[in-house]
């Protein structure tokens, strides 16, 4: 079983995240982390490899700092790591991202067939939740997304997920090789111990450029983006904020506030 897990390096949720004047996410503040949800993806991949045997390759695309994201995956038990890094990738949208990740998965597949690609359900910066579908589309894989639970049946060569959608709960089964995206319900990510952290330090991260992947710079980055941000503005703080401490009448004051603002 060979599993590729895609992990993204994103600005820290707790920090003051911002856009640059060009309307791009500011990724130069040096406070990036592994997208929290991708810890669930790594946990799922590593657990499946432990259960069924095999190896996990962590894959990221991003600027130099993004190496931290795959390093974290190595600490959590991934066996190998690949970082696609190239100046021409700056400004990539979901399409450029998926195209690049797909080329990298194919290249990883040259060393032995990839049975499963695992991703998080969303990156907590763009929050589009479309990269998994685009990636499966490029690779021609069946997809089982938004898994709250993942089980593999190697004998039948299928992967099965349970997921909770807006109006229904579903069980979906895909033939391997397949793509799975997981939610934070799927598992409890392990916390790497000292030994795992030390072992991860010894592992090399393979860096690939666009040329290594045979990709045309015109298809990715700003050049290939299918959307353009015209304007990015920080929201002004909420005005006229009221804070009351209950002295027995706060419910009445709340009702009055709602009535004044035509909210009842």
């Amino acid at each position: 079983m060979r599993i590729v897990v895609c992990v993204k390096h994103v600005p820290d949720l707790q920090s003051d995240r911002r856009f640059t004047d060009e309307g791009r996410v500011d990724r130069d503040q040096g406070d990036g982390t592994l997208n929290e949800l991708d810890e669930n993806a790594v946990e799922a991949a590593v657990t499946l490899a432990e259960q069924h045997g095999g190896e996990v390759v962590a894959l990221t695309m991003g600027p130099a700092d993004a190496e931290d994201a795959v390093r974290r995956a190595l600490q959590m038990g991934a066996d190998d790591a690949v970082h696609v890094v190239d100046d021409a990738l700056a400004g990539s949208d979901a399409f450029g991202t998926a195209l690049t990740l797909a080329a990298a998965v194919r290249r990883i597949g040259e060393a032995g067939p990839v049975d499963l690609v695992v991703t998080g359900m969303a990156a907590l910066d763009g929050l589009m939740s479309v990269v998994p579908t685009l990636l499966a589309g490029h690779l021609g894989l069946a997809q089982a997304t938004l898994a709250a639970e993942v089980t593999l049946d190697p004998a039948a060569a299928t992967v099965r997920v349970r997921r909770e959608l807006d109006h229904a709960s579903e069980v979906v089964e895909a033939p391997l090789p397949a793509l799975v995206s997981v939610t934070d319900q799927a598992n409890q990510p392990r916390y790497p111990n000292f030994k795992a952290i030390m072992a991860a330090r010894k592992k090399a991260v393979t860096a690939w450029t666009l040329a290594d992947l045979g990709l045309d710079p015109a298809e990715v980055g700003d050049a290939g983006a299918r959307t353009r941000v015209l304007e990015a503005t920080p929201r002004p703080p909420r005005e006229n904020r009221v804070l009351v401490t209950d002295e027995g009448d706060a419910g009445l004051r709340l009702a009055a506030f709602l009535a004044e603002n035509r909210l009842v």
Partner: protein
């Protein structure tokens, strides 16, 4: 609201439906679509007559029914939709609108991939740009930033958040839409199979994603949602929860609001016993008015609340509910 110039490219609206009736988000999409061009609807399944009449009253000129798509999962629906778009609009400019749900985002992504379109999801508003392109307004980073974006491609696929705009029926007499049935053959290739589907029981309360008012209970409820439910019912709203409340099993996971749950933009959000963790804020901070009831004055939710009450939710919520009934003359 303005109406699009004649001769503009068609705008295709994917109409989500339930029990053969369009969901309320569909009317919102149709309202926006009218400002962008002549409106045509796509219906996954065989469109029933009543629904077709209804769509005619909402300004739809043609309904494209895709019977085979009723049983397809989102990626294959995206492929089917691509075939319809190519047949209807040709390779030229056109816009396809969907309601931004997780399933529709997957459909939209596959459609965009198959047709070379640009994709914008979770749009909070749409405008016709000066050069005829659609401009989407999006909120980022827990609604602390607002973006205006457009596609660089002639064709645009846009997923609009439910509740982002008010649905308004057009003036004038209803039209009788022409119904075209498309026999699309799903593309070959490996696909996933739906093994089991358990629809959620319908509730008397409005859908979380579409509700104008949402009352949310967090850990502070300690599992007793009665005060939250009472206030929600008085306000005709939906009940939501934090991840802690759903993890504890106090309420179903589908009620979770936040970055990994439902994103909501109601006119009114009321959080009770909710601390306002960043993951939760990501799913509710764009709400119109934010009210928080929390016993700890240091809770981060007060930083974003328009009206904050430092107090015990078990006394404040019932008192507010009773007072609202009194104001309305119901008690």
């Amino acid at each position: 609201m303005t109406t699009a110039a004649p001769g503009a490219a068609p705008v295709l609206v994917v109409v989500d439906h339930h029990d053969d009736a369009p969901r309320s988000s569909a009317y919102e999409l149709l309202t926006v679509a009218r400002t962008l061009g002549p409106v045509e609807a796509v219906w996954f399944g065989a469109a029933p007559e009543a629904a077709v009449d209804r769509l005619g009253a909402w300004g739809v000129a043609r309904v494209h029914a895709v019977p085979a798509a009723a049983d397809l999962l989102p990626p294959e629906r995206g492929e089917a939709l691509a075939a319809v778009v190519e047949a209807v609009a040709g390779p030229g400019a056109s816009t396809v609108l969907l309601a931004s749900t997780f399933e529709n985002k997957e459909t939209a992504a596959r459609l965009a991939l198959a047709t070379g379109a640009g994709l914008m999801v979770d749009a909070a508003a749409l405008e016709a740009g000066p050069d005829g392109r659609v401009v989407a307004v999006q909120q980022a980073f827990a609604a602390t930033w607002t973006l205006r974006a457009c596609t660089t491609t002639p064709r645009a696929v846009v997923a609009l958040k439910p509740n982002a705009v008010a649905a308004v029926a057009p003036d004038g007499a209803p039209t009788q839409p022409e119904v075209l049935t498309h026999d699309v053959v799903p593309a070959a290739g490996p696909v996933a199979r739906l093994v089991e589907r358990t629809p959620r029981p319908a509730s008397d309360r409005p859908d979380l994603g579409e509700a104008q008012v949402v009352v949310v209970g967090g850990r502070g409820t300690e599992g007793d949602f009665s005060a939250v439910e009472e206030l929600a019912d008085v306000l005709g709203g939906a009940v939501g929860a934090t991840r802690v409340a759903t993890d504890e099993g106090w309420i179903g996971h589908e009620a979770q609001i936040g970055q990994t749950g439902v994103t909501i933009t109601p006119r009114l959000y009321i959080g009770a016993g909710v601390s306002g963790a960043v993951h939760h804020r990501g799913g509710m901070q764009a709400s119109g008015t934010i009210v928080a009831v929390n016993s700890d004055p240091e809770s981060p939710i007060f930083e974003i609340a328009d009206f904050g009450v430092v107090g015990d939710l078990f006394t404040v919520l019932p008192q507010a509910a009773a007072e609202i009934r009194r104001i309305r003359g119901e008690a």
